[in-house]
Each structure stands twice: as C-alpha cells, then as structure tokens.
Amino acid sequence: MIKELTKGIFRENPVLMLLLGLCPTLGVSGKFFNAIGMGLGVIFVLVCSNAVISLMKKIIPNQVRIPGYIVIIATFVTIVELMLRAFSPVLYSGLGIFIPLIVVNCIVLGRAEAFAGKNRLLPSVLDGLGMGIGFTLSLMLIAFIREILGAGTLTLWESGSTVYRFVIPGLSEAPVSVLATPAGALFVVGFVIAGINAVKQYRSRPGKDARKGASV
C-alpha cells in the first residue's frame, strides 16, 4: 500500500520521469513561492478528485467517463481558484491562467484514467497524494534553480506586505535572465532529467551488484 504513495515521488515522478504536466512546470516555475502554491493546489485537486472518482467508478458509464472525470476535477479546481483569490491574491495573480488549467493537467486526468477509475478508495487517495507530492517536489527543484539563477532571488513567502525573499548579492544585479523565460525552463528541466538519468545509469551500471541492478 505504501508503494502507491512513494511511486509518485521517485520511480514514476510525473514531471521528471513520465514528462507529464510540463505546461504548468514551464509556466509557473519561475518563482519558488509560485511553485509551492501550484504544487499544493495540484495535491488538493489530485487527492480529492482521485477519491471521488474511485468512489463513483461504478456509477460513471464507461463511454462518458472522461467528461465525468473532468466535471469532478473542475469542481475541485474551482474550489482552489476561489480560495486562492480570497486568501492569497498575490499567488492568484502569479499563477494566473495556470490555475484553471489544472482541469486539463495531464497528471490529474492521467491518474483518474489510469488509477482512480480502477482502484479502491485508499490506494487512490495515496496515489493522488504521492503523485501530487512528486509534482510539487520536482516543481520546487526546478523553480529553485530557475529563480536563483534567473532572477538572483529566492521567494519563500509573499502575501500582502509580508515578503520573505532572499536576494543574492551580485547575481541579482546581472542574473541569467534567459532562465526566467519558459525557454530557459526547458533547459533546466532537460538538464535535471539528464542528471537523474545519469544517476540511474550509474546505479544500474553492469557488474555492480546483479540483484540491485535488476531492481532499478
């Protein structure tokens, strides 16, 4: 059962392993705080929609299951959107169009189709939670690199007048601002994935340990 939770974080990490949800990854990973906000929103939507869909999987006719899933997902996305608007206007404007776009986020829809529509409640919730955490962690990693190199800052919290932001001296005056653009995000995602693949290859290199090599 615990495997359903952890697989989304490492082995089937939606962004870095399955290359799903790249659109919000490229769009909102320019600022660390936005990445955290987006990640939490997606975790909420994933867990709730996976739970409801796995409960309703007998009721939803197979032919119209995708529209059915979308209605359920859209409900939770609307909740996230209205909550953000009310309690964190800064985050709401920072994420912009990418909040309503969670509806068609391929991670959310993909988990509904591939997992929640076939499994029982608890595994579905754990699966959603794991996938959401995996998405959030990879988004945070990419945003961490991008904000530090691309803007020379690191924004941890931003709400009204309370702003927790580290400014890196030197780098913030002449940052590599190409990394703050979506094109720069592609570079960062590419190199992070390359790094992960290098680690995977190193761990499964031949002649190391036959048993361990097989499991990777």
Partner: protein, 383 residues
C-alpha cells in the same frame, strides 16, 4: 619489409574507400585563419580589452569542451571545433562587455548547444549563436553597449549618438532605426540622416567620399567607406566587412564553405532592402539603401561564417538557396520591423531549425527509380 607495405596498400576494406586527407581539425584551422584578420581589426579598433574578451571566450569554450570530454571519455578537444566556437562567440560580443558574459556564453555554446545534443555534428543550431543568444536575452543592456572605434576617436570629431561619455556610441543600425522615422518624408535616402544628425564618421570616410564624388560627379552620402572597412561601432568581429569578405572568399576558394548560402543570404536581404527598405524613410518602394545595409551589422560575419556552418546548414544546392533566402528575409524583417536593430543571429538560428525539412525537399532521385512523390512522414518514402 617492402613487400609487406605493398600488401597493406592494396588491402580492401569495407566502405568508405575514398578518403580525404582533410580532417576536422584542418578545416577548423582554415576557418580560424579566415576569421583572424577581422578579429585582429576589432582588437585594433577597440583596444586590448577586446583581446581579453576574445581570449576569455576561447578559453571558456575549450574548458567546456574539456569537461564534455571528461564526461564522454572521448577526446574531442583536439579537433579544434571548440576553439572556433569560442572565437566566434568572442567576435559576436560587444567590445566593452563584462568578461563573465563571454565566459558564460562560450560555456553555454559548447555544453548546452553542442555537448548536450551529442557533440560536434549532432547540434541542431549553431553553438556560437546559441551562446550569443543566451547572453543577448540575459544581459541585454551590456550586449547593446558599443564602444566608439579608435579611428573615430583619433579623428578628433565630436562623437554624435554618444550615450553618456564619448567612449560608447550607437551602432549605425541602432542610430538609423531610431533616427530615420523622425525625418521620414523629408529625405531622399536614409543615409542623409547620418549627416543631418552628425553621426560621427572618420576623416578618411569624408576624404574618400568627397574624392569619389568630385571624380565621378556623383552625390554619394557619407558613411559607406567607414561601413565597409570597419570604422564603426559594433561587435568585435563584425565591423570589418572588407576583411570578413576576404576570409569568406578564402574559405570558398578552399571549398570549405559553399558559395550558395552567403550569396542567397546577402542577395535576398539586398533584394528585400531594395524593394521595401525605403518605406520607413518615406521614399517609397524600390529606394532602399542596399549598400549601406549589407555593410552594417553582422551580415557578413553571419552569412560567411555562421550560416555556412557544416553541421547546421543544408546539404543540397536547392535547400542551401532556400536556407539563405530565409535567413536574408528574416534578417530584413527583424532589422526593419523587429524590436532589435540587428537580426542576423536570430534569423540564422531560426533557419537552422528548418534545415532537416529543407533537405527533405531536395532528396536526389536514385538511379533507375522514377521520381514519383515527395517523401513525407507516414508515407513510408522511397529513400
């Protein structure tokens, strides 16, 4: 002993049987030789700091290639391509740029735009231009600060178009782009703006232009001489059109680059300027100043040394022409209607991406096979 050698000479192996004595390293040395005069001219005009920019670019590119070699466990440093990439990056830098910019641009060129794609021969865009664009979009203000060349400072003229101090001034292209609209309708050639707004030109330019005008009874504007011989603001390696042209002709004579690409590039650009270039000066169609436009900016450096990069340019003659024409038209559009004063590098990078498609348009007919249909995706194809 002798017999054994003969056996070796006639041994038959699998193809390729015809080998060229030319190696990658040799080609790179020729290209570097062809570039050096223009680079040295830039150093002469902009001082030793420009030499430091070039040195840092080359060193960073070599260091980046060294790192790639360590990762791939394969020596690709000795083929000289990294040195060439570094030199091109340096020549594409403004002379007064802070030194970390060429260093990062060179590293990005070699590691991101070449190494990450699989090394020399696998890169999809020209690495040097990729590195330049990283710098261009990251540190725009530093990349748009241009030093006044030595010859103009020594002419003792007041430097017009100067920002702040006389050491930096606008390049002719930036100057024209911002000044021509003010005079639209009241001039017959946009070159007049250079004189009207007192854009600083060298004393040689004035002398030569006056001489030619009195000899032939013409009325040429000032500025062509400076533009051709490289007495103007700009990137280190792009200013001397004369030396770049000599270098380019040397490479064509050595059959290292194909003449089709520079000819199509400069030709299509010139045609577009001639037809539409006069519109912004209010002189109507077919009145653009072709000569000054092709001698300005990085057109010659781009057309002879960047667009012709063997890896990122097409193979077939037809696709080379299309490639060059695309570069020329895009350069024209960016220079006249884009937000940047110069668009050669952006145009070449964009056309680099189309090279595989362009080459597919001109797949040669196999002997004994009728040319039936164009090879397309999903149709299987016959090639």
């Amino acid at each position: 002993m002798k017999r054994k050698k003969q056996e070796f000479q006639f041994s038959v192996a699998s193809s390729p049987q015809i080998r060229s004595p030319r190696s990658t390293a040799r080609i790179m040395v020729y290209v570097i030789l062809a570039l050096l005069p223009a680079a040295l001219w830039g150093v002469y005009q902009f001082g030793w700091y420009a030499a430091a920019v070039l040195a840092v670019s080359v060193a960073a590119a070599a260091a980046g290639e060294g790192a790639i070699c360590l990762i791939r466990k394969k020596n690709t440093l000795s083929d000289g391509s990294a040195v060439l990439t570094g030199l091109l990056v340096g020549m594409n830098m403004p002379p007064s740029v802070p030194l970390y910019i060429p260093a990062i641009a060179s590293l990005a060129a070699v590691i991101v735009f070449k190494g990450a794609f699989g090394g020399l021969g696998c890169n999809i865009i020209n690495p040097a231009l990729g590195g330049r664009l990283i710098a261009f979009f990251s540190w725009s203000s530093a990349m748009f600060t241009f030093q006044t060349p030595r010859t103009i400072l020594e002419s003792g003229l007041t430097v017009a178009g100067a920002t702040g101090d006389a050491m930096t001034s606008a390049t002719p292209l930036t100057f024209l782009k911002s000044s021509v609209p003010e005079y639209a309708g009241s001039i017959s050639n946009e070159m007049e703006v250079l004189s009207l707004k007192h854009y600083s030109l060298s004393k040689y330019d004035a002398a030569v232009t006056d001489k030619i005008n009195s000899l032939f009874g013409e009325n040429f504007c000032y500025g062509y001489f400076d533009a051709f011989f490289g007495i103007k603001g700009g990137c280190i390696g792009e200013i001397s059109v004369f030396l770049l042209l000599l270098g380019g002709l040397f490479l064509i004579a050595k059959k290292i680059i194909h003449w089709e690409i520079p000819v199509a590039f400069i030709g299509s650009f010139a045609a577009a300027v001639w037809v539409f270039g006069g519109l912004r000066a209010g002189t109507g169609f077919f009145s653009g100043d072709v000569v000054y436009q092709i001698f300005s900016g990085g057109l010659f450096l781009g057309a002879f040394f960047m667009a012709t990069d063997m890896v990122t340019s097409p193979f077939r003659r037809g696709s080379m022409f299309l490639f060059g024409i695309g570069c020329g038209l895009l350069t024209f559009l960016i220079r006249y209607y884009g937000s940047f004063p110069e668009g050669v590098s952006l145009a070449i990078v964009f056309m680099n991406l189309t090279v595989p498609m362009l080459d597919r348009l001109f797949i040669p007919r196999r002997y004994g096979v009728k040319k039936k249909r164009r090879v397309g995706v999903g149709k299987g194809g016959n090639a």
